[in-house]
Amino acid sequence: MSTEIEADADQLADWLARCALGDRRAFERLYDATSRRLYGILLRLMKRRDWAEEALQEAYVKIWQNADQYRADRGQPLTWLISIARYRALDMLRRDKGEDSLDERREAGFEEVDEVSVERMQGLSSLAETRDLVRCLEDIQLEQRNCLILAYCEGYSHSELSETLSRPVGTIKSWIRRAGQVLKDCLEGLA
C-alpha cells in the first residue's frame, strides 16, 4: 500500500475500534478516508458503476457490523477493508449477476488481457514498496502470471479465464496454483 495509507494504519485501526463501540462519527471518518480507494478497486473488479456502488455500500454495512472482528495480527486495517469489499464484489459477480457477468463487464470496459497485465506490472514497478513483489512476479511464467493478475485484480473466475484464454479450466486451475506457489516461495525467501 502507499506510504500515506501505512502511516494512517493506526488511525484506521482506532476508527475501527470505535466503530465496534457504535461510534457513528468514527464510521463516517473511516468512510471518508477509505471509500475512494475501495471504490477504485471495486470499479476495477466490476467495471459497471452501479454494481460498484452497490458493492461499496454493502461492504461498508458489513464493515460497520463486523468492526469488532478486525484483528491487528491478521494484517493492516486497509487490507481488511479491501478484503471485505472484494469478497462482496466477487459474491455479487459470481452469484447475483450470474452467467452474464463477464459479458456485462466486457461491455462496460474490459481491456485486452495482455494490456491489463502489462499495465499492472508497469504500475507496480514504479513504486518502491512493491519492488519485491515485482521481482517475484517476474519469476512466474507469463501466462500463469496473467491468470493470477486477472483473477485478483479483474475478478475473473476459472471459467471466465478458460473462455478468455481458450484453455481448459483444469489448466487454468493448475496455472494459478503454480503462480501462487512461486509467488509465495519467492516472497518468503526475500522476507
Partner: protein
C-alpha cells in the same frame, strides 16, 4: 475437466489462495469460510494471501464516489430514532392548524395562479371562488402529456411560495414558484417536499422544490390515496442527508382535488 494438469490435492495455502481469489465454488467457499472461523492456522493462511496480494492495488487510483452513496449508506445504517420522528410530527401539527385556517383564500389564490401561470389542467368542476376578472380555466390550453387533477399550495402569510400539481395518470408532478419570485437560496439550503403517509409511517421524500421557476418531480404510486398531507422541510443543500426530514417543517398542505 478431463485435462486437469494438477491431480494432487491442494494444500491449505492453495485453498486459501483460491478463497481469496474468489475461485472456490459456492459449497467450497462455504466450507472454507466455516473452517476459517474454527481453524486459526487456516485463517492465517487466508490473511497471509490477503496481505501478499493486496499490494497489487498499490498503484490503483482512488476514484471519487458519486454523491448520494454516502447519504444512502448513512440513512440505512442510522435511521432517525422514533422520538425524532415524533418531534417532527408535533411540529407539523402546529402548521396544519395554520394551513387549514387559511385554506379557502389559499385555494382561490392557487387556482387563480394555476390559470395564469401553469397550463396544467382543466378541472371538471371549479373548486372555490375564482375571481371573475381572471381568465376562465377552461380557456387555458391543455398539455396532453400532463393533466393535473390535484394540487397542493404552500404559502406564508405574505405570499404563495409553491404550487404543486399532480397528474396520477402520467405519474408526474410539477412544482412552480409563482412569477419571478425566489423561494430560497439554494447554495444555503434546500426545501424538500414530503408525503405524510396516512398510516402514520415515516414521511417519504418527493424531491427538492425549485428555488425559482418550475421543476418536474416523479410521482410515486399511491401518492394521493395513501397521503394524509404534504409538508416542506428546510434541509441542507442537496436534500436531507438521512432520507427523513432533519430540518424545521415550514409549510404544509393537503391535496386539493381539481376534478
Amino acid at each position: 475437466m478431463s485435462d486437469i494438469d494438477d491431480i494432487t490435492e491442494p494444500d491449505d495455502s492453495m485453498v486459501a489462495l483460491e478463497y481469496v481469489l474468489g475461485l472456490l465454488d459456492r459449497n467450497e467457499f462455504a466450507a472454507a469460510d466455516a473452517r476459517r472461523r474454527a481453524d486459526l492456522a487456516f485463517d492465517r493462511e487466508i490473511s497471509a494471501w490477503e496481505t501478499r496480494l493486496v499490494r497489487f492495488y498499490a498503484a490503483e487510483p482512488a476514484v471519487t464516489v458519486p454523491a448520494g452513496v454516502r447519504d444512502r449508506l448513512l440513512a440505512r445504517l442510522f435511521p432517525p430514532a422514533p422520538e425524532e420522528i415524533a418531534a417532527w410530527r408535533r411540529g407539523l401539527a402546529l402548521w396544519r392548524g395554520f394551513a387549514l385556517a387559511a385554506s379557502v383564500g389559499v385555494i382561490a389564490l392557487g387556482v387563480a395562479l394555476l390559470a395564469r401561470i401553469e397550463p396544467a389542467s382543466a378541472p371538471s368542476t371549479p373548486i372555490a371562488q375564482v375571481p371573475a376578472t381572471l381568465p376562465p380555466i377552461a380557456a387555458v390550453p391543455a398539455e396532453p402529456a400532463f393533466k393535473a387533477t390535484y394540487c397542493a399550495l404552500f404559502k406564508t402569510d405574505e405570499r404563495m411560495e409553491w404550487i404543486v400539481w399532480a397528474d396520477p395518470r402520467s405519474g408526474k408532478m410539477r412544482a412552480i414558484v409563482p412569477g419571478s419570485q425566489v423561494a430560497y437560496a439554494p447554495d444555503q439550503h434546500a426545501m424538500e417536499l414530503w408525503m405524510l403517509p396516512a398510516d402514520g409511517s415515516a414521511p417519504r421524500s418527493l424531491g427538492i422544490l425549485p428555488a425559482s421557476g418550475k421543476a418536474e418531480l416523479a410521482m410515486p404510486t399511491g401518492l394521493i390515496e395513501e397521503a394524509k398531507g404534504l409538508a416542506v422541510s428546510q434541509e441542507p443543500p442537496g436534500g436531507s442527508p438521512t432520507g427523513l426530514p432533519t430540518g424545521p417543517v415550514l409549510y404544509q398542505s393537503p391535496w386539493w382535488s381539481l376534478g
